[in-house]
C-alpha cells in the first residue's frame, strides 16, 4: 500500500539501520542522564537532611511575654533574634554606603532622606532609615544561676568589619531627632566595631528573617534550663511585627531547614523513577532510531505529491 517510490527512493541509500545498534544512543543517554541525577541527588539529599536534623533549635516568641523554657544541645549556640512581618524591605536603599566607608564622605547623606541631617543641618552618621531603625533588644542568659557569656565579637562578616565600615568613622548625631527609631550608638566607638549595626545594615532579604545576636561558646547540656532576661526595647507592636529569640546550633548546611534535603530526595527519586520508566520503555516498545520509515511523508504517503 505504501507508495514510497517517488520520494522514498533516496532513503534506500542511507545505511541500513540495523535494529541492534540503532536504538541505543538516544535512550541510553536519556536513561543515564536520569540515573546520574538520581545518583547524585539522593546522597546529597540524605546528607542535607541529616545535617539539618542535627541542628538543635529553640524558638520562642517573647513579644507576647510568654517565655517557655528551652532545651539546648552541647554545642556552640547561636542566638538569633527573629523579627517577622517586618514591613518589608521597603526603601532599603535609604542608606549611604560611602558615608559608612570613608570619613571624608561623612557629609554625603544623599539617599538618606529623611534621616539625613539634623535640624542644624549637621550630617547624621550613620544616616538613613535602615540605621535609624537599629534593633536594640538585649538578652541576658544564665544557666543554673550562672551567667552565660555571650560573645558579641565577630558576629558580622569580617569583610564588612575590615573594609566596608570605616575604622575612622564615628557615629554622629545619631538618633537625635524627635522620633527614635531604635538603638543608639556609642559615639566613641568607630563604625567598624559597631557589630550590631553592621549586622543590622546587612538588610534582610525576606520579610521573616533572623539576625545573629551573639554566640554562647560554652557547651550546653541536653535538657538544661536557660533563664533569659530580655530587655524589650524595639517597638514592633506598632506595625504588628513578631519577635522571636532563637537558640540554635549550626552545621555545614546552616540552620535547621529540611527543605533542601527533602527536595533533593524527591528530585533524585523522581529521576530514578523516570530512568526506570525509560528502561522499561526501551525494552517494551523500542523505536528504531533514525529509521526513515518514520518520516512523516513515509508514514503518510501522498502528503506531498
Amino acid at each position: 500500500m505504501m507508495d514510497m517510490s517517488p520520494v522514498g527512493g533516496k532513503e534506500g541509500q542511507s545505511p541500513p539501520n540495523s535494529k541492534k545498534t540503532s536504538k541505543k544512543p538516544k535512550c541510553m543517554y536519556v536513561i543515564s542522564t536520569f540515573t546520574v541525577i538520581g545518583i547524585i541527588f539522593i546522597p546529597v539529599g540524605l546528607a542535607s537532611l541529616f545535617s539539618s536534623e542535627k541542628v538543635e533549635e529553640a524558638v520562642f516568641r517573647y513579644d507576647d511575654t510568654c517565655l517557655p523554657s528551652s532545651n539546648a544541645d552541647n554545642a556552640v549556640a547561636y542566638i538569633k533574634s527573629a523579627t517577622t512581618n517586618k514591613t518589608c524591605t521597603h526603601k532599603w536603599t535609604s542608606r549611604n554606603d560611602k558615608q559608612l566607608w570613608n570619613k571624608a564622605s561623612e557629609g554625603d547623606t544623599s539617599n538618606c532622606n529623611p534621616e539625613d541631617k539634623t535640624k542644624g543641618n549637621a550630617p547624621i552618621v550613620p544616616c538613613g532609615l535602615i540605621a535609624w531603625s537599629l534593633f536594640n533588644d538585649t538578652y541576658k542568659f544564665s544557666m543554673n544561676n550562672k551567667d552565660l557569656t555571650v560573645n558579641k565579637k565577630n558576629i558580622a562578616w569580617s569583610s564588612d568589619r575590615g573594609s566596608k565600615f570605616g575604622p575612622d568613622v564615628y557615629p554622629k548625631n545619631f538618633q537625635s531627632g524627635e522620633l527614635i527609631g531604635g538603638g543608639k550608638l556609642d559615639e566613641s566607638i568607630p563604625l567598624s566595631e559597631q557589630e550590631d549595626l553592621i549586622v543590622w545594615m546587612r538588610t534582610a532579604a525576606l520579610p521573616t528573617f533572623r539576625k545573629l545576636y551573639g554566640k554562647i561558646e560554652a557547651d550546653l547540656e541536653a535538657n538544661s534550663e536557660i533563664d533569659i532576661v530580655i530587655q524589650n526595647n524595639y517597638n514592633t507592636y506598632e506595625f504588628g511585627g513578631k519577635k522571636n529569640l532563637v537558640l540554635s546550633t549550626t552545621t555545614w548546611i546552616g540552620g535547621k531547614n529540611p527543605f533542601l534535603g527533602m527536595a533533593y530526595l524527591v528530585v533524585g527519586g523522581l529521576s530514578l523513577f523516570c530512568a526506570i520508566g525509560f528502561i522499561l520503555l526501551y525494552v517494551i516498545k523500542p523505536r528504531p532510531l533514525g529509521d526513515p520509515s518514520y518520516l512523516s511523508w513515509n508514514r503518510n504517503p501522498g502528503i506531498l505529491k
Binding site: 569583610s159 538588610t203 534582610a204 528573617f209 540552620g255 531547614n257 532510531l289
Partner: protein, 1275 residues
C-alpha cells in the same frame, strides 16, 4: 566608472528604478499619467485612471476577433488594468516601484494607432508643449552658466551621498535612530527612571543600555558615512575638460555647473547629465555604456542633433543657444526638451542626452552642455533606498510581543493594586513604620509635610510606573539588536558558502537585504523567470528554415566542415565566438544550382546581418582565443555588441555562413560577403518594439535597389506577408510547421522577410519617415505609422531557431524544490510552445501531467476555459461550501483514473485545504492575453483556485507587470511566502513584489540584482539557498525569538514573585548592575552564536531529504502554540528559581544582597543551561560562549562585590564558601529544567519529528562511519 565611486558602489544605493508616478512631466509613452500634471492631486489622478480603465475594457471587447491587435494591446493596457486591479489591496508606495518595469517595456513601445491611445496622445501633445512653455521649464543658456543660474536655483555638480557632516552627525544620527520604536521605549523607561518617586535603578545605570545601543549604532553609521564621504570626495575631485573662455580646460567635477560645455573623451565617465552638441562622428553619433545606470552592459547609441554638430568641432565650440527642458526627475528613459539654436527651434529627446555615470565608448570625444548637475542628475535622483521588507517571522514576533506587553501590563497592575490595598490596610501605621514614612517627623521647617508620599492613588500609580521600569525587559528590546547581529552572521556564512559560488562568472552569493534571512526557510511559491534564470541566456543559432527547407538538424563545427573551410580561409578576421554551421545550408548558399533558392538564402543571411542594431567592435587579434589561425597572418577580432542576445546570435550565425557585419554607422553598414565588402546605405531603421514585435531596416544596395528587410515574431509577421500564389502558400505552411517544430524543441523563433521598394513607395515612406523622426511630439507613433507603410506585402524568406540553453543543474534543482513542497511557477515572455518545451526539458512538466491550457482571446472565452477546467478536474473552491460536491467529484474521478488512485488515499494531515484535491497532477499553462482578461475581471478567484490546485503553473507571454500581478494574486490570497527569481530588468517588479526577491547575476545586466534581496550566479543555487540556508536560518531565528522571550520573561517573573513578597514595593533583590547586565552581557552572547552557528541537520541530510523543508512553511519552529508552551515553561522555571532559594533560606540570616547574588547566578546558569540543552551542534565557540557567559557573570559579580562602597560588598566570597549556596543552585537548575527535559525526551521517543528522525539517522551514519574507519584502522 571604477568601483570606488559612490554612484552605485554603496550597498544602499539601488538601481535606477524609475518611479513612474513621480514624474512631473507628461510623456508620450505613458498612458495613464499624461493627464495628471505635477499639480494634480492624487484624487484627480484616480479619477483619470478609472476612466482609462473602463475605456480599455470596452475597447477590448470590441477587438475580440483580432488576435494580433489584442495581443499587442496586452502590454499597452496592462499597466492600467494592473493598477486598477491592485490598487485597493496595496499601498501606493509599493505600486510606485512598479513603474520601472512599465517604463522599460513601454519606452520603446507605445500605443498603437488605436482609439484610446490616440485620445491620450492628443492630451500628451498639449501637455508636452505646455510644460516646455511653462515657467516651470528649466532654461539652460549654452556656455553661459552664470546666466543659466542667475537665480542660484540649480545645484552645482557636487554630489553628496553621505548623510551627515561633522557638525550634524550627532543630532541627525540621534534623530534617525529614534525613529525606531524600540529606542523610544528605552528612552521612555530611562526618562521614567529619572523621576524622583520612581527611581528604581540608579539613574546612571538606567541610561546604560540605551547609551550602549545608541553608541554602537552611531559608530556603525559614522563609519559607513565616513566611507561615503571618502568616495564622494574621490568623485567630486575628478576632472573633466570644460569650455572656459573659449578654450577647454580641466576642471574638477564639483565645480561644473549647469550650462557649461564639457568635453569627454573615450572611456571617460560622464560627469553630469548633458545634452549632446557634437561628437567625433560627423553624423553626431556616440556610443555609451549605461552599466552604472541600468546595469545593461551593451552599448547604446546617442545622437547629437544635426543642427548642432556642424557648429562643434574637436577644438572649437562656439555655440550659443537656449535649452528648455523639464525639471529634474528620476526617469532615465525619458527626456523632454527643446533647443533654440541659431534661430531654429527643435526638440530634444532621450536619445540626445547622456547621463552622469555612463561611460563613453567607441567614440573619440563628445561635447555636450550640462543640463542637470550634481544631486539633480538622474543617476543621483535614482539612488534612493528600495523599500525594505520585513520578515514574516518578525511579524509574528511582534504579535507575541504584544502578548508580552499585556503580561507586563497585568503584572504592573497587580503590583499597583497590591500596593494600593497594602496602603489602605496600613494607612494608620505609615508614619511610624521603620521603613516607610508618609511625612517628615523631625521638627524643623519641613515638619508635617509629606515625605515622598503622594496619597494612595498616586502612590499606586507610581508603583505601576516603577514596576514598568523594573519589568522593562519583559519586552525583549535587545532581541531586535540580537536579531540584526544574527542575521549579519548568517549572511556572512551564506556569502562564504562556496557551494553557492559561481566559478564561471566569479560571482558569489550576495545578501542585499539583511531583514529576511529566515523567510528563506518558509517559501511556498517560487516564481521564476525563464530566460537567463532557468536558461543561460546564451543564445545559439541552431536551426534555420530557408525557403521552406529545414536546416540545422546536423551541425558541424565550422572548422570541420569542408564546405565552410574555403570560405573561412578567405577571412582575415575571426569572430570571438565560433558557431557550428550546417554544411547543407552552406552548400545551398554557395553551390546551389537553383537560383531561386540561392537568392532567398542570400537575402536571408543578408537580413540577419543587416537587420539589427548590433555594433561590431574590431579589436586586434592579440589576445588568445582569437589568434588561432596564425597562418593567415594578421587577424582581427570582431566582437558584436548589441542590446539583445538573440540579435548577437543571429549576426554571428550570418557571419559563420559568410555574411559578416563589419561596420555600422548611422548612415551605412558594411557587410563582408565571402570576402567582398558590400557597403549598404541605411535609409531608415525601425527599431524593435514590443507592440509591432518586429524590426525593419531600409537599405539601398550599391546598384540603387532599395529593399526593406524585416525580422520579427511569427505572430506579427505572418499577417503582413504578401498573399501570393500556391507555391507561396506551401512555403508558408512549410515554414509554419518548421516554426512549430522549433518551438517545441524549446527554440526561440523569428521570421525573416523582405521586399523591394518601388521608387514611389520609397518616396512616400521617406517623407513620412523624415517627418516622423524630426517630429517634436508623438514621434514614436508617427514612426510606427511610417513603418506600417513599408512593413506589408513582404516575401517570406525563412525562419530561425535560436537555442536558449538550460542552466546547469536546473532540472535537479526544480525537482528538489518540488519535493520540498515548493510550487514552482514559471513566468516567461516566451511563446506558449517554447514555454512548454522548456518546461519539459527542465522537468517542470512531465508526460503524465494533465495540461490545462488557457489561452482565450476574450473575457468570456477565458471564463469558459477556466470554468471548464475547474469543473473537469474538480478543483476545490476556496470557499468551504463546495467541499462536499468536490469530494464527490474527486471520488468519481478516482474511479476513472485507477492508476493514480493509490496516491489520493490519504488526505494531507497538515495544511488542509491547500493541497490538490485531484488525482492527476495538473499543469496550468496560461498566456498573458488571458491573464489580462482574468486579472481584470472577477475571474481572479477562479484562476487562483485552479492555479493553486495545479502542480505546475506556466505563464507565457506575460508582461513584466503581469508577473508582479501574479505574485500578488498569490500573496493577497494566501498566507504563503513567495519568492521571485529573475535576472532581467523585466523581473524587477516581480522581485520587489514577492516576499523574497532573488536576482541572478546574469547577462541582462544588474537591474534585477539591484532590486533583489539576495543575488546569486545560478538558478541551481536556489536549492541550496532554500533547503539548507533557509531551513537553518528559519529554525535558528525561530528558536532565537522563543528563547529570548523566555530568557527575559523568566527574569522578570522572578522579580515579580519577589515583589509580591515585599509588600509590593518595587524593590529588587538584584543589584542595579546585575539587572542591566543580565540581558546585555550575561546572556546575550550565546544566543547570538547559536543563532548564527547552530545546525539542526547537516546540509547533506537537508539536500538528501528535501521534504524536511516543509517544516518551514508549516511554521514548526515558531508558532503560537510553541510560544504558549514556552511561556508555561517560563512560569514554572521562574517559580522554581524564586521559591527554591526562598524555602532554603527561610528563617535564616541571609541578607538581600546574598539572595540577589544567588538569584542572579542561578538565573544566568539556568538560561544558559536551557540553551545548552537545545543546542544541536556544539562547536568550540559555542562552548566558549555558553560556559564563558557563566564565567563572565561570576567574574562581574566578583568585581562588583569587591568595591567597598557598594552595599553588596564581598557577598559572593561569602556565598561561595557556603555549601548550601551551591546545592541550592544545582537544585534550581535541575528542578527547573526537569519538566522540559522530560517532555522533550518523551516527544522525541513517541512523536519524533521529521527533523528528529533525520538527525538520528545522521548520527547513526556518523557512528557507523567512525566504527568502520576504526575497524579498518585496527585490521
Amino acid at each position: 566608472m571604477s568601483s570606488d565611486q559612490p554612484l552605485l558602489s554603496e550597498p544602499d544605493l539601488v538601481p535606477p528604478v524609475i518611479h513612474h508616478r513621480h514624474r512631473k512631466s507628461g510623456s508620450r509613452t505613458s498612458f495613464f499619467e499624461v493627464a495628471a500634471d505635477s499639480s494634480t492631486t492624487d484624487h484627480h489622478r484616480e479619477v483619470v485612471l478609472a476612466k482609462d480603465c473602463s475605456f480599455h475594457s470596452a475597447f477590448c471587447n470590441n477587438n475580440n476577433n483580432s488576435g494580433i491587435s489584442s495581443s499587442s494591446l496586452t502590454e499597452a493596457q496592462n499597466p492600467d488594468s494592473e493598477f486598477r486591479l491592485e490598487c485597493p489591496t496595496r499601498e501606493r508606495g509599493l505600486l510606485r516601484s512598479w513603474g520601472a518595469m512599465e517604463l522599460h517595456e513601454i519606452s520603446t513601445a507605445s500605443a498603437v494607432t488605436t482609439a484610446p491611445s490616440r485620445r491620450i496622445h492628443h492630451k500628451s501633445v498639449q501637455f508636452d508643449e505646455q510644460i516646455l512653455h511653462d515657467d516651470n521649464a528649466r532654461l539652460i543658456y549654452i556656455n553661459d552658466p552664470k546666466k543659466t543660474n542667475d537665480k542660484y536655483e540649480f545645484t552645482g555638480n557636487e554630489i553628496r551621498t553621505s548623510r551627515y557632516t561633522f557638525i550634524t552627525f550627532l543630532p541627525k544620527n540621534l534623530f534617525i535612530q529614534f525613529h525606531r520604536v524600540a529606542y523610544l521605549y528605552f528612552l521612555a523607561i530611562a526618562a521614567l527612571n529619572q523621576l524622583p518617586p520612581l527611581a528604581v535603578f540608579g539613574r546612571t545605570v538606567s541610561l546604560f543600555p540605551l547609551l550602549f545601543v545608541l553608541c554602537v549604532t552611531a559608530i556603525k553609521d559614522g563609519y559607513e558615512d565616513w566611507r561615503r564621504h571618502r568616495s564622494d570626495n574621490n568623485e567630486n575631485n575628478r576632472e573633466s575638460l570644460v569650455l572656459q573662455s573659449s578654450d577647454f580646460r580641466s576642471k574638477v567635477w564639483k565645480k561644473i555647473q549647469a550650462g557649461e560645455v564639457v568635453k569627454i573623451f573615450a572611456d571617460e565617465t560622464i560627469p553630469a547629465d548633458m545634452v549632446l552638441l557634437g561628437t567625433s562622428d560627423p553624423s553626431g553619433l556616440a556610443y555609451i555604456q549605461t552599466m552604472n545606470l541600468d546595469g545593461e552592459s551593451n552599448l547604446k547609441t546617442r545622437y547629437a542633433k544635426q543642427e548642432t554638430t556642424s557648429a562643434v568641432s574637436s577644438e572649437v565650440c562656439d555655440i550659443a543657444g537656449i535649452i528648455r527642458c523639464e525639471q529634474p526627475n528620476r526617469n532615465i528613459y525619458e527626456f523632454t526638451a527643446n533647443m533654440e539654436f541659431n534661430g531654429i527651434k527643435f526638440s530634444l529627446s532621450q536619445s540626445n542626452i547622456v547621463l552622469r555615470g555612463c561611460q563613453l565608448k567607441n567614440t573619440d570625444w563628445i561635447i555636450g552642455v550640462v543640463v542637470y548637475a550634481g544631486q539633480e542628475t538622474k543617476a543621483m535622483l535614482n539612488s534612493a533606498a528600495s523599500p525594505s521588507k520585513r520578515s514574516r517571522l518578525e511579524g509574528y514576533m511582534n504579535r507575541e510581543t504584544l502578548w508580552l506587553s499585556i503580561f507586563l501590563f497585568i503584572m504592573c497592575l497587580v503590583v499597583a493594586l497590591g500596593m494600593c490595598l497594602w496602603l489602605v490596610r496600613h494607612k494608620n501605621q505609615l508614619d511610624t513604620l521603620p521603613y516607610y514614612r508618609k511625612r517628615y517627623i523631625n521638627k524643623g521647617p519641613e515638619y508635617g509635610k509629606k515625605y515622598k508620599y503622594y496619597g494612595i492613588p498616586m502612590e499606586a500609580f507610581f508603583s505601576f510606573l516603577s514596576s514598568v521600569i523594573v519589568f522593562q525587559i519583559m519586552i525583549p528590546i535587545s532581541l531586535y539588536i540580537t536579531m540584526e547581529l544574527v542575521r549579519l552572521g548568517q549572511s556572512y556564512f551564506m556569502i562564504e558558502d562556496m557551494h553557492m559560488y559561481d566559478a564561471s562568472s566569479g560571482s558569489r552569493f550576495q545578501c542585499r537585504s539583511l531583514n529576511i534571512n529566515e523567510d528563506l526557510g518558509q517559501i511556498r511559491y517560487v516564481f521564476s523567470d525563464k530566460t537567463g534564470t532557468l536558461t543561460e541566456n546564451k543564445m545559439e543559432f541552431r536551426r534555420a528554415s530557408v525557403h521552406g527547407d529545414n536546416y540545422g538538424s546536423s551541425l558541424l563545427a565550422a572548422d570541420d566542415s569542408s564546405a565552410a573551410t574555403d570560405v573561412i580561409l578567405k577571412r582575415r578576421w575571426k569572430l570571438k565566438s565560433e558557431i557550428s554551421v550546417d554544411p547543407k545550408l552552406m552548400s545551398v548558399l554557395h553551390k546551389n544550382p537553383n537560383r531561386d533558392e540561392r537568392v532567398v538564402a542570400h537575402e536571408f543571411f543578408l537580413t540577419l546581418a543587416a537587420c539589427n542594431t548590433v555594433i561590431p567592435i574590431l579589436t586586434d587579434g592579440e589576445f588568445s582565443g582569437c589568434g588561432t589561425s596564425e597562418s593567415t597572418g594578421y587577424v582581427e577580432c570582431i566582437d558584436y555588441q548589441g542590446e539583445s542576445p538573440d540579435e548577437q546570435a543571429l549576426v554571428s550565425a550570418a557571419s559563420a555562413y559568410g555574411y559578416t557585419l563589419f561596420e555600422r554607422t548611422s548612415g551605412h553598414i558594411v557587410i563582408d560577403i565571402n570576402g567582398e565588402k558590400l557597403r549598404l546605405d541605411v535609409l531608415g531603421l525601425h527599431e524593435f518594439d514590443s507592440v509591432r514585435k518586429r524590426m525593419s531596416v531600409v537599405i539601398r544596395f550599391p546598384d540603387n535597389a532599395v529593399k526593406v528587410l524585416v525580422k520579427g515574431a511569427d505572430t506579427s509577421m505572418f499577417s503582413i506577408l504578401a498573399n501570393g500564389s500556391e507555391s507561396h502558400n506551401s512555403l508558408l505552411h512549410a515554414t509554419q510547421s518548421h516554426l512549430t517544430e522549433y518551438s517545441s524543441q524549446g527554440l526561440r523563433t523569428l521570421v525573416v522577410a523582405s521586399r523591394s521598394l518601388s521608387d514611389a513607395e520609397l518616396e512616400e515612406w521617406q517623407s513620412r519617415y523624415g517627418e516622423a523622426s524630426t517630429a517634436l511630439t508623438d514621434r514614436a507613433s508617427k514612426l510606427r505609422q511610417a513603418a506600417a507603410l513599408i512593413e506589408c506585402n513582404l516575401n517570406l524568406l525563412g525562419a530561425t531557431g535560436i537555442e536558449d540553453k538550460l542552466q546547469e543543474g536546473v532540472p535537479e534543482a526544480i525537482e528538489s524544490l518540488r519535493q520540498a513542497g515548493i510550487k514552482v511557477w514559471v513566468l516567461t515572455g516566451d511563446k506558449q510552445e517554447t514555454a512548454i518545451s522548456i518546461g519539459l526539458s527542465c522537468k517542470l512538466l512531465s508526460a503524465d501531467m494533465q495540461q490545462i491550457v488557457i489561452n482565450g482571446t476574450s473575457e468570456e472565452e477565458c471564463g469558459n476555459l477556466l470554468g471548464d477546467a475547474i469543473a473537469k478536474y474538480g478543483v476545490r473552491s476556496s470557499s468551504r461550501g463546495h467541499q462536499n460536491l468536490n469530494n464527490k467529484t474527486n471520488a468519481d474521478h478516482g474511479n476513472i483514473d485507477i492508476s493514480n488512485s493509490s496516491k489520493s488515499m490519504s488526505l494531507p494531515k497538515w495544511n488542509p485545504g491547500k493541497e490538490e484535491g485531484t488525482t492527476t497532477p495538473l499543469a496550468l499553462i496560461i498566456d498573458g492575453n488571458s491573464l489580462v482578461y482574468i486579472l481584470e475581471k472577477e475571474l481572479e478567484s477562479e484562476l487562483f483556485d485552479l492555479a493553486t490546485s495545479c502542480k505546475v503553473v506556466l505563464c507565457c507571454r506575460v508582461a513584466p507587470l503581469q508577473k508582479a500581478g501574479i505574485v500578488d494574486l498569490i500573496k493577497s490570497r494566501t498566507d504563503d511566502m513567495t519568492l521571485a527569481i529573475g535576472d532581467g530588468a523585466n523581473d524587477v517588479s516581480m522581485i520587489q513584489m514577492a516576499d523574497v526577491g532573488v536576482g541572478i547575476c546574469g547577462q541582462e545586466g544588474r537591474q534585477a540584482v539591484m532590486a533583489s534581496d539576495f543575488a546569486m550566479g545560478q538558478f541551481r543555487f536556489l536549492k541550496r539557498l532554500l533547503l539548507v540556508h533557509g531551513h537553518w536560518n528559519y529554525h535558528r531565528v525561530g528558536y532565537l525569538v522563543l528563547y529570548n522571550f523566555y530568557r527575559n520573561a523568566v527574569f522578570v517573573l522572578m522579580l515579580f514573585w519577589y515583589i509580591l513578597c515585599t509588600a509590593f514595593s518595587t524593590t529588587s533583590a538584584l543589584t542595579d548592575w546585575s539587572s542591566v547586565f543580565y540581558s546585555v552581557l550575561y546572556t546575550s552572547v550565546p544566543t547570538i552564536f547559536v543563532g548564527i552557528l547552530d545546525k539542526d541537520l547537516s546540509h547533506k541530510t537537508l539536500l538528501q531529504y528535501p521534504k524536511l523543508y516543509s517544516t518551514g512553511y508549516r511554521q514548526e519552529a515558531y508558532n503560537m502554540q510553541l510560544f504558549w508552551i514556552t511561556m508555561i515553561d517560563t512560569v514554572w522555571q521562574s517559580l522554581v528559581l524564586f521559591y527554591a532559594p526562598l524555602f532554603t533560606y527561610k528563617d535564616s540570616s541571609i541578607d538581600i544582597w546574598s539572595m540577589g547574588s544567588l538569584w542572579t547566578i542561578a538565573v544566568v546558569i539556568l538560561v544558559n543551561a536551557h540553551l545548552a540543552m537545545d543546542i544541536n551542534r556544539w562547536l568550540l565557540i559555542t562552548h566558549y560562549a555558553v560556559w564563558g557567559s557563566i564565567i563572565t557573570t561570576y567574574g562581574c559579580m566578583v568585581i562588583l562585590d569587591s568595591i567597598p562602597v557598594f552595599p553588596n560588598f564581598w557577598t559572593i566570597y561569602h556565598l561561595a564558601k557556603s555549601p548550601t549556596y551551591w546545592i541550592t543552585i544545582l537544585l534550581i537548575i535541575v528542578v527547573a529544567l526537569l519538566p522540559r527535559f522530560t517532555c522533550k525526551v518523551v516527544w522525541q521517543i513517541f512523536w519524533p519529528s521529521d527533523i528528529q528522525i533525520a538527525r538520528e539517522a545522521e548520527l547513526m551514519r556518523r557512528r557507523h562511519d567512525r566504527l568502520q574507519s576504526r575497524h579498518q584502522g585496527s585490521s
